[in-house]
């Protein structure tokens, strides 16, 4: 008996690390990969209000999704929002990081000020900007009160412009974070090189343009991946700021998926749109993770 006990104890000791890891791994396999497969299957069925596994239709939902006007609008909006959001956050973040890198007094205070929106929920950000941009009572009224009588700012209720209010609020929330990434990159640059350049008579502008900015390549990539990822997932901000409206002017893939799945009883179509979102993000994230982790693990 005791021999058998010690054999069990040995086995336990040997496999304890794997046993400790296994619940988390099992959770991941089930709740991430199992769920992805399940959603993939739902996207190939005629599910309406509830999942209906018996009505298999193959890939029929995907061309149908592509012909849905709301989805086309959502994709267009995604492109406009994603492009502007990424470019403006990137340019503004780099610009602010370079300014802050000039031996600024109160740098800590300014950095904290630029970055704090990142700690807020998108719902709070959306609520704040919705009020700030309120056509009747917000910015417009303040400008009138200061004598700019003809100032007009109705983007929130203007179907052609509403998408840009989401860009503004998104940039407000995330640009400070990009600034922090670039600042960390700038601080990591070898100062000897900069001194050498300055001794050669290069101006500050030239030093940045020719030497520093090209060296931040890794940061551009990281910033792009993070921002693209946030843009594709963006749901909360749209809901809080415009609710997808006016009309469907600010519909995004994330809001499309939610409404088709849970309120319009088109679960098959909703699942298909979720799959498209997954593939888009995977196309960006997987190569990035692969490159990042491989570099690390070679050592």
């Amino acid at each position: 008996m005791s021999e058998k006990n010690s054999a069990v104890a040995d086995w336990l000791r040997q496999h304890l690390p794997k046993l400790v890891l296994s619940p988390s791994f099992a959770i991941t396999i089930f709740f991430v990969y199992g769920f992805i497969l399940y959603t993939a299957f739902i996207s190939m069925t005629k599910s309406k209000m509830l999942p209906n596994l018996s009505k298999f239709v193959g890939f029929e939902n995907y061309p149908k999704l592509w012909k849905t006007l709301n989805w086309q609008v959502a994709l267009d909006n995604m492109l406009v929002f994603g492009f502007l959001y990424i470019v403006i956050c990137g340019v503004l973040g780099l610009f602010l990081a370079i300014l802050l890198d000039q031996k600024i007094r109160a740098e800590g205070f300014l950095r904290t000020t630029y970055l704090y929106p990142m700690a807020l929920s998108f719902i709070v950000t959306g609520t704040a900007w919705k009020w700030f941009l309120n056509p009747g009572l917000g910015l417009e009224k303040s400008m009138h009160a200061w004598g700019f009588e003809s100032f007009k700012f109705d983007w929130l209720i203007n179907p052609d412009m509403a998408i840009y209010t989401i860009v503004i609020a998104g940039v407000w929330q995330s640009s400070g974070f990009v600034m922090a990434m670039f600042l960390a990159g700038l601080r990591g640059i070898d100062s000897e090189q900069l001194k050498a350049a300055q001794l050669d008579g290069a101006s500050t502008f030239q030093t940045y343009w020719r030497i520093i900015i090209p060296q931040l390549r890794a940061v551009y990539l990281s910033a792009f991946v993070v921002l693209a990822h946030m843009a594709i997932k963006s749901y909360d901000l749209v809901v809080a700021l415009t609710g997808g409206g006016p009309g469907r002017a600010t519909e995004m893939p994330a809001t499309f998926m939610y409404s088709y799945t849970f309120t319009r009883n088109q679960m098959g179509i909703g699942a298909a749109s979720a799959m498209i979102m997954l593939f888009t993000i995977a196309a960006i994230i997987v190569p990035y993770l692969y490159a990042e982790t491989r570099e690390k693990q070679d050592g």
């Binding site: 000791r13 988390s24 991430v32 300014l99 000020t113 929920s121 009020w131 700030f132 917000g138 699942a271």
Partner: protein, 292 residues
């Protein structure tokens, strides 16, 4: 000092002034919405309608705050947002605790007790951090229904732990990677076991990464909206969902002052964490984005 002297000529001084002006303009841009939220929350509705959004209140009032906390109508009930605030607390505390503990253990196994295929296990968990959560909404609502915890705080705890362990594992794994293997090996030779080494050697030096992970998880879970809106309706909803319901409900007079007070209350816990431990917050952001 050399630089100070260089800035004395007027051209450089001009650039210096322009530099600070630009920085201050941007500081105003970032602070303005918060400022407007705060001043609006201390004004009466009449003053909001007549006055300037950017002006300080003529007559300060805390009425909107009391109303937001205790009597404002969210959905069908008119008891303010305090119940939802506690819902969020009840959701955040267990979810953060459990996901951090699991992350620490996972990171420890994945660096100090490696086995064949550990890279694959980690890669699979890591990818799970980045999926768009829309992909899990349909099956998750079914599973929560089957477990009988749909619309409940317990359900949200399960969801947040599930999708939080990827990041907490990532944080601890990268941190423990740099922890000297020699110390662990020496302890093994002395006969210390798996948990003893974790408890006595790894944990005592894990302070910073625990803070980073707790802050990261706390911020993400507190600020979550998608899961809250999908899986917790009515009374069980977390703060973000209640705020959205309060602000975007179409009935009655829009009480902007109450909305702003509620928004500040919703933002308060994460802002507090940011102000108190901003350094760790930034470190978490970096670790969560710049992998490796």
């Amino acid at each position: 000092m050399a630089e100070m002297i260089r800035y004395d000529d007027s051209g450089a001084r001009f650039w210096r002034v322009a530099l600070y002006t630009t920085l201050i303009v941007f500081a105003v841009f970032y602070l303005l919405p918060l400022f407007v939220m705060l001043v609006t929350s201390f004004k009466s509705l009449d003053e909001i309608r007549q006055g300037n959004m950017l002006a300080l209140p003529v007559q300060w009032t805390i009425e909107p705050w009391l109303k937001a906390w205790g009597t404002a109508c969210v959905g069908l009930t008119c008891e303010g947002i305090h119940g939802y605030f506690w819902n969020s607390i009840k959701m955040v505390v267990p979810a953060v605790t459990i996901s951090t503990i699991l992350g620490a253990l996972n990171g420890y196994v994945l660096t100090k007790w490696r086995f064949r295929g550990h890279k694959w296990v980690f890669a699979l968990m890591l990818f799970g951090c980045f999926i768009p959560f829309q992909i899990v909404l349909i099956p998750m609502s079914q599973v929560l229904g089957k477990l009988g915890i749909a619309g409940d705080t317990a359900g949200l705890v399960l969801v947040h732990v599930t999708y939080g362990i990827g990041f907490s594992t990532l944080f601890f794994r990268n941190y423990y990677e740099a922890f000297p293997n020699e110390l662990v090996k020496a302890a093994m030779i002395d006969g210390a076991g798996f948990f003893r080494i974790f408890w006595r050697i790894m944990l005592p030096s894990s302070g910073p990464i625990i803070v980073v992970t707790v802050i990261w998880q706390f911020t993400n879970i507190w600020n979550d909206f998608l899961f809250g809106a999908s899986f917790a309706a009515g009374e069980g909803a977390p703060m973000t969902v209640a705020l959205n319901n309060l602000v975007n409900s179409s009935t009655g007079v829009k009480e902007y002052n109450v909305h702003m007070a509620a928004a500040v209350i919703a933002a308060f816990p994460t802002l507090l964490v940011y102000v108190v431990a901003g350094r760790y917050f930034v470190r978490g952001l970096m670790a969560g984005s710049v992998k490796g």
